[in-house]
Symmetry: C2
Subunit: 650 residues, 2 copies
């Protein structure tokens, strides 16, 4: 199948730049505070090919350039209507297309030779890499500079008179465009994720006023809303714009609240999955590496769409030279490296790893160059040490950050092995760091890792300890002390963000505490959906009334009520309850180790490579069917191989 | 004066990319074969300022962004019609404008605080640099994304019927746009630098056919021509588009042919001076570092427009990482470094040097990393070893290239001293290289430097020997042997390009042979202008009929007949005959050492910093008047200080 092709990574740079231009709030644009790279604008595409029969090729480019067939130069048209056809006799040919434009340079050929991922592309001086392409752009009239969202009409479930206008309720969190017809001089529109926000006469993020001079209607840039207030009272048309992807995973169980949590999580995750994984759809609508890291893992258990993983990783990394950490956050650089290893495990896509390996090395070099005298990733010169929106002693050097540093060094070892590079350097760095972390941060009296040693406060929060468990950096009795003394200890300040709940519950599951996790999911996410949330919030406290929690970052309605990092139940239920994980890259081997976690019954589907595995635990029986081979069911201490299409009932 | 501001270097990246998209020939675009960088698209501008009185600022941005005054955020309008005015009380303020767009991000403020080169700009993570700006963009409605060429109507001097159409002769080489009114169905247009080219029915570079469907007229992209053939016979409108600059230098002498050479050289140079210094206006219309190096030196003696120097150097360098040499040519990387030192000498602009110093270091690191085992800049892995369009033994390692390498290392020493960096490293490298060049390339029997030692051919061309003289790498008797045995020896193949004639005649002047240089200028350039050339050609042989010399690069009319490197008589006559050179950076001190070079009389003007110096040699008398102080007249072994406005007559 012929597809539009571009220079590897350039589609992502192009759309990433443009996506990050779209954040506007309080009537001003809000650009990100990090460098954003654009695509290259001068690219050569190349293929050596032997054709069996005389034939023709049709060529097209966006937008200008030159075609060379066997050294002879031809015109490249810039619109499909003008597409030129050239004869290509049977035999060996070298075809080069040199495309240059201010926009995203890309190229299309069909006929006896077709453009696809087997072509090479370079930017003159950079390495030759396999061209980027996507089945989204297989139509010769498609335009890779435009992202093909699915557009569906949105109909409000109710409208009521309010504040001299109409308040529309679309029934659930949406992302779309509102269009108002010009029957009056001008119109005011307020978008709210909550009813209160749409009705507020205070400053809210999305409040617009537009005149109708010479226009029959006004469209407002796509944004997040459940409620839309329009004054004066005018009819609106609304259109949702979503990524063209559906869930291959599913989950149902005996607890209807948990089912509702899974559904709302999926809606949340679907809304935040666009060109790239976004943090949230109201704000920032940016791509953040820490948020994305969780999205990659959630993605495994629903869409299993590796294309959005790739797009997001490439967009986040940008180009060399590194001048700040990814998103300016030290942790987020580490997550980026970790995500490569997870991606490889999900897909077995070594080509992608090879293409980005030089970027991983230079990113890690950037991190290594900024270590302190002890070899730690310290505060000084390292940008923003985020970890979580939580009180933490961040004096000089933060333990949770070192945990991520170690995990990233482990990932570098694994990646080096994939691409055939020297892994020893990273192994040595890891071993050294691991010893030092225990020496500096482990408090044997408290039975926990402390936040930081510099201040002398020896403060304990959950974060570093969660990572220590999750990444397997503690064993035996020490592990048990952390579990009981920190994770299961109510005296240690609770995690408030779904972001860190992800890791906490993941660690608890890993420690076999799924029943506790069920309770916590129901208490936290359950409380949110009971309260009427149609998407999961950026931050939440079950102890306060929901309507008292809309504020964040100093703004009365600043909190995002639809945040991707809230969708972790999809991951937790798929990973630990349905119990599926890849054992070999690309699910060539996978494990199914289901457990009820205190539920009466559960069933669901998890994507495994090109197939799916369906699991049902009910009435003391475990039934597992995979559409592909390679799986192993682990049930009550025994292992059962899974053959494609053959149910195993035990 | 308020001016639009942009991130340092970004205006140049932006226009350089777009300029290089414009080469089209034989009905296809012809993109350069090196990486081209674009401007950044996410920029912050900043100024801390204390205002004396309450007032207002008016702000505008291209095209989107956010204004922060003392931490409070405001809207940035994207059109001057919507410009917003904000109050600014007396006192200390921090003003930041965060501008992001797909285009060139820039910002304008007037009122009690104005945007200009005192503002800082950065791209988040990159260093804070003084903002770029230009008096070309002081109007609040100006758009730095458009280059403000001066547009003048062009009127043909004749039209004759030919080939079923009309052949217009514009009387001299032009660069402009042709517009044809739609009185027929379609029109064919052929552009020729020569009459033969415009009348050719063979493939020529600029031959277009356009239909008039739904159009009242057709415009053809600006290109080079003296002759334009239009068929069928239709009236045309033509408009010249030139850089808004005039010559501050002048030259007249007793030889009318030399006066004509100076005039035609100036016309040539004016046509090739646009956003940047181009090689030629028919082809490539690209920015080449070797060509530009000569343009910087020619510029000193006519426009003395340092702005175009800066623009060209920034455009050529592009961004890190270096992945190829500048224009893919090793020599051209060295010329780039050399040009910085010359620029500093012309202007004394240390700020510019400081801003580009990191780029100079990384460029030189790139060169140093590619040395061979002997420490030479060798062929292997070094891209294109150009030197000149001449037969030369380029086996492995070329002597002329090492001469440029040495000269670039000397320039790095000088630049390091300007910015306060360590010059010693470059001094050591220079000394080492100089010894090795003499050991490997000097042939004492031939009394000359050989092209290359690897082949064993021990071939001698003029190039390395010219550089050895010009850069002062030989002294005493050795110098004299090179002069007589190579430069004044007709048995050594003559230089054919004006490009290398520049260096040859410069070296001869330096050796006191101006009378020989006069003869050679008259023989070479004189022959061209006698033959009717209205601009200087890319390459020329006085021994062949002009109409037999239109071809180059395998194309019948491939040669550029208007090539900047042909304009060197402006440099030679200003530098050696009028005899002016800077002695201290920015002409704070300058030398005037006029000589007749065999002419009866001469007079002229040379720009010296903010002033000019006028020199007249006539009737055995030397009269020199400078509008600024700092000069020294050197005449017949004596020195005379020059005071502003006071003629010295000796």
């Amino acid at each position: 199948m012929a597809m539009w092709i571009w220079h590897f990574g350039d589609f992502e740079m192009y759309h990433n730049l443009r996506l990050h231009m779209r954040r506007d709030e309080f009537d001003h644009q809000f650009p990100p505070f990090w460098r954003l790279d654009d695509c290259y604008h001068n690219v050569v595409f190349r293929k050596e090919v032997t054709t069996a029969e005389d034939g023709h090729v049709r060529v097209n480019a966006r937008y200008q350039g030159m075609l060379e067939i066997d050294g002879k130069r031809y015109r490249l048209s810039d619109s499909w209507g003008d597409a030129v056809t050239y004869p290509l006799p049977a035999g060996r040919h070298v075809i080069e297309a040199k495309v240059m434009c201010e926009d995203l340079p890309c190229f299309y050929m069909d006929g006896v030779v077709e453009t696809d991922g087997t072509w090479d592309a370079c930017t003159y001086g950079g390495p030759w890499l396999k061209a980027g392409c996507s089945p989204m752009y297989s139509d010769p009239e498609a335009n890779p500079a435009e992202f093909p969202f699915v557009r569906e009409p949105l109909v409000p479930v109710s409208a009521e008179e309010a504040d001299g206008g109409l308040l529309y309720d679309f029934g659930r969190e949406c992302f779309g465009e509102i269009n108002v017809r010009a029957v009056k001089d001008s119109v005011k529109v307020r978008f709210g994720e909550s009813r209160e926000e749409a009705l507020s006469d205070e400053a809210i993020l999305q409040k617009h006023e537009a005149g109708f001079t010479d226009r029959v209607s006004v469209s407002f840039s796509p944004c997040a809303f459940r409620y839309v207030w329009v004054g004066p009272a005018l009819p609106v048309e609304a259109e949702e714009q979503l990524l063209d992807v559906t869930s291959r995973g599913s989950f149902r169980c005996s607890d209807e609240r948990l089912n509702r949590i899974w559904d709302v999580s999926l809606r949340t995750f679907s809304l935040c999955s666009r060109e790239f994984f976004l943090d949230g759809i109201k704000r920032d609508r940016w791509v953040w590496s820490g948020d994305a890291y969780q999205s990659y893992l959630i993605n495994r258990y629903c869409f299993a769409d590796s294309a959005i993983d790739c797009r997001t990783m490439l967009a986040l990394r940008g180009r060399d030279p590194m001048t700040t950490h990814i998103n300016t956050i030290l942790d987020y650089s580490f997550y980026w490296v970790m995500s490569l290893q997870d991606y490889y495990m999900s897909t077995g896509d070594a080509d992608f790893i090879r293409n980005v390996w030089p970027s991983a090395v230079s990113l890690m070099d950037y991190c290594l160059a900024r270590r302190d005298g002890n070899g730690f990733a310290a505060n000084e010169g390292n940008g923003w040490i985020f970890i979580d929106w939580a009180e933490m002693d961040k004096d000089t050097c933060v333990c949770a950050e070192q945990m991520l540093f170690m995990r990233a060094l482990e990932a570098m070892q694994a990646l080096a092995a994939i691409v055939g590079a020297d892994a020893g350097r990273y192994a040595a760095l890891f071993n050294d760091l691991r010893e030092k972390v225990d020496a500096f941060f482990w408090d044997d009296e408290k039975g926990a890792y402390i936040d930081s040693y510099a201040s002398g406060k020896r403060n304990v929060t959950r974060h570093a300890n969660i990572f220590a468990l999750l990444f397997g950096y503690t064993v035996g009795e020490k592990r048990e002390r952390i579990l009981r003394g920190v994770l299961l200890n109510d005296a240690v300040t609770a995690i408030r963000t779904p972001y860190f709940k992800f890791y906490e519950l993941d660690a608890l599951c890993d420690a076999g505490r799924t029943e506790e996790v069920t309770r916590r999911m129901l208490a936290y996410w359950g409380s949110m959906v009971d309260g009427g949330a149609t998407s999961i919030w950026e931050e939440y406290s079950p102890d306060e009334p929901m309507e008292a929690q809309y504020g964040m970052y100093g703004d009365r309605f600043g909190k995002s009520l639809c945040h991707a990092w809230g969708a972790s139940p999809i991951y937790l239920l798929g990973r630990w309850y349905l119990g599926v994980k890849p054992v070999k890259p690309g699910y060539r081997a996978f494990e199914v180790r289901p457990q009820l976690g205190g539920l009466e019954w559960l069933e669901g589907t998890v994507p495994v490579g090109n197939g799916e595995v369906h699991i049902c635990l009910r009435d003391g029986k475990c039934t597992v069917t995979a559409t592909v081979s390679g799986g192993t069911l682990c049930w009550q201490g025994r292992e059962y191989p899974l053959e494609a299409g053959v149910p195993v009932i035990v």
